[in-house]
Symmetry: C2
Subunit: 435 residues, 2 copies
Amino acid sequence: MDNTSKFPLVVIIGGGFGGLEVAKKLADAPVEVLMLDKHNYHTFQPLLYQVATGSLEAESIAFSLRKNFSGQKNFRFRIAEVSAIDSENNLLDTTIGPIAYDYLIIATGSTTNFFGNKEIERFAMPMKSIPEALNLRYLILQNLEEAVRTTNKDDRAALLSFVLVGAGPTGVELAGSLAELRNHILTKDYPELQKEEMKVYLVDFLPKVLGPFSDEGSNAAKEFLTGMGVEVLLNMKVESYDGKEIKFEGGKSIKTRNVIWSAGVMGVVPEGLSKDNLERGNRIRTDGSLRLNGYNNIFAIGDVAAMITDKTPKGHPGVAQVAIQQGQHAAKNILHILKGQPTEVFEYNDKGSLATIGRNKAIADLGKLKFQGFFAWLIWMFVHLISLLGFRNKIVVFINWVGSYFSNNGGTRLIIRGFKREELSKKDEQVSVPD
Amino acid sequence: MDNTSKFPLVVIIGGGFGGLEVAKKLADAPVEVLMLDKHNYHTFQPLLYQVATGSLEAESIAFSLRKNFSGQKNFRFRIAEVSAIDSENNLLDTTIGPIAYDYLIIATGSTTNFFGNKEIERFAMPMKSIPEALNLRYLILQNLEEAVRTTNKDDRAALLSFVLVGAGPTGVELAGSLAELRNHILTKDYPELQKEEMKVYLVDFLPKVLGPFSDEGSNAAKEFLTGMGVEVLLNMKVESYDGKEIKFEGGKSIKTRNVIWSAGVMGVVPEGLSKDNLERGNRIRTDGSLRLNGYNNIFAIGDVAAMITDKTPKGHPGVAQVAIQQGQHAAKNILHILKGQPTEVFEYNDKGSLATIGRNKAIADLGKLKFQGFFAWLIWMFVHLISLLGFRNKIVVFINWVGSYFSNNGGTRLIIRGFKREELSKKDEQVSVPD
């Protein structure tokens, strides 16, 4: 693809929280913007877990990137994956051919980190994208279906055991959501099952849940979870999982057909950059201006970036707020460069952390203000609703939540393209049954 | 699966319009009910075309069968496909093992009929289920994406040509919906494309669109379509389609990468029944009581059934109303049999036909009352909204429609699990890209 305009071309790889902000901020700038993403939609990752448990339809937490920028004259979009960056020639190698750039924003985000354990990677379910959340939903629902027709007690128990590895916000929210499924829905949908048969375990190698939260928040979260019937297992390190039994260091093990892995992430980095540019967690090291060391025209933002300065020796946390603010900042720095002005150093404005456990139960750490329970839950809902792209999505999600709140039986729980168990090991490909 | 209850077991194959009614009607009867379906949801087929064009999310026109019957004490559900009926032993051979029945309701519906043309079957898209409607959506959207980056004029024209074969309600509604996509959305989402580049053709071998409708209705539909820019080609018989060019008898041909086939249906009949039981269109012949000739305990209803009597020598049309009324009637006849009473003959109460072409444009043939245009469109919307299962679905669809009406840019148009073109020929299996 050639840039035939007289303006420099800014190519953004990734339409996540960070990429969106760059494109928006450059709307009226004297540049052309080209966004590449392997999907034609933005994913609102904070609600993926509700797609996984069948509370929300996938399309409510996704928004068409074309539609979002419809009307922005300098914006173009292509579905493409970038395989390599040729930084000497300012050229990308992509699934739709070579693409030249003048400025490059790497906003490729992160994926699940199995820390090199191939067996766990094969059998445990990740949940970092909508297709992965749907696969997880189908695993859960298909295992409930199988449990109904399984008479062997051990097999049935393994089908009805859910082990969540990693007690960060994703693990905590999934645990809460699964506990609500058990407490309120299980016996309505599956009269052959007993509530007590379904077990939810939340496991972490740290001594607390919600590691980066305040102690008050973390303790409250653990109490909420325990009260809902989740077994919280801390200081536990996973040793292996073969699809049937998860084993921990020290000898404990749980027979389960459902292991969900949210114990770590790593940056998604295209080929072509020097390995010297990479930090812990496969993140791309940048300077304070968010540019890669040694490059004038390549920026990295969000989950894939590690801005290493004296003040931020480990970079920033992998959360949406960092990506959003870095996206705005990278765009601002491009505008500075175009005007021949010096770039500015990025400073993160931490607005706090939120996590929900269930109905009326959430944790809000907002600087010195800390809430646990109903008020935190209202804040959580409000912040998530206003952050969703699209008026339709806001309304549809709101209706789903109101419906669930009053009926205690919300959600759709459909298996629209499930998979065969023998294909589970190919889950990274896409594992649908014939239809 | 064994029936350990003291009541006879009624097994219903299929959770479509007919199957649902049987189960509902038997709620308080002295029977056990077991419903089998290959999906865990009911599909509201009349709105499939809106899923295909990205106007509605799939989950709004589907409803969990378990949730629908949650609370009905004598109801059980299993995801299963029935491969064969052993009518001598009252036994079904299914994907989850053998299942014994006392009464059997065959409500398996219909699938696309390619009339034995393997080449067309391989390359043309059907649209009879949600996965098929999603595949069609992905084909449409992926071809628009490909057109944007295709410079060869002929290739681009073929990607942007849509040929709908069969001008029944499905073809007409799809044609209208695609015309609206072109007229209102195309250049907003794809600024690189021109409205005039996209062509929509509606083809039928009959001399009219909406064959079974009144002449007024049929003529109005044709006029609406033509006014929206659809080329209506009548008296045209398809000869071949090789994925690139569709050829008609008489020499005409159109280069197109998008052929959608709604030119015929045929019943989905499990093995094991005598071929003598089959009528034209692979439908199972029944007597006036909806029972198969020679069987006291096997009924067939809806699209898969052809009730052949002196008054109905060809059976009934394959529409939702027939399935619904036959479902209620079959349940009633089972109750009669249980009480030792004679069965009753089914009489169809034809409430009329509806089809929509687009915004403010629909056709309503309601006996002597015939409407075309805005009022018919209001009737169409009202009837479809109240017929949707689930309060949530009603609201979500309504919001989508209101949004589309006022913005002229509704719909989500997401490719959540698309497919690779080279896999198109395997579309009946699983045609998704890795994700």
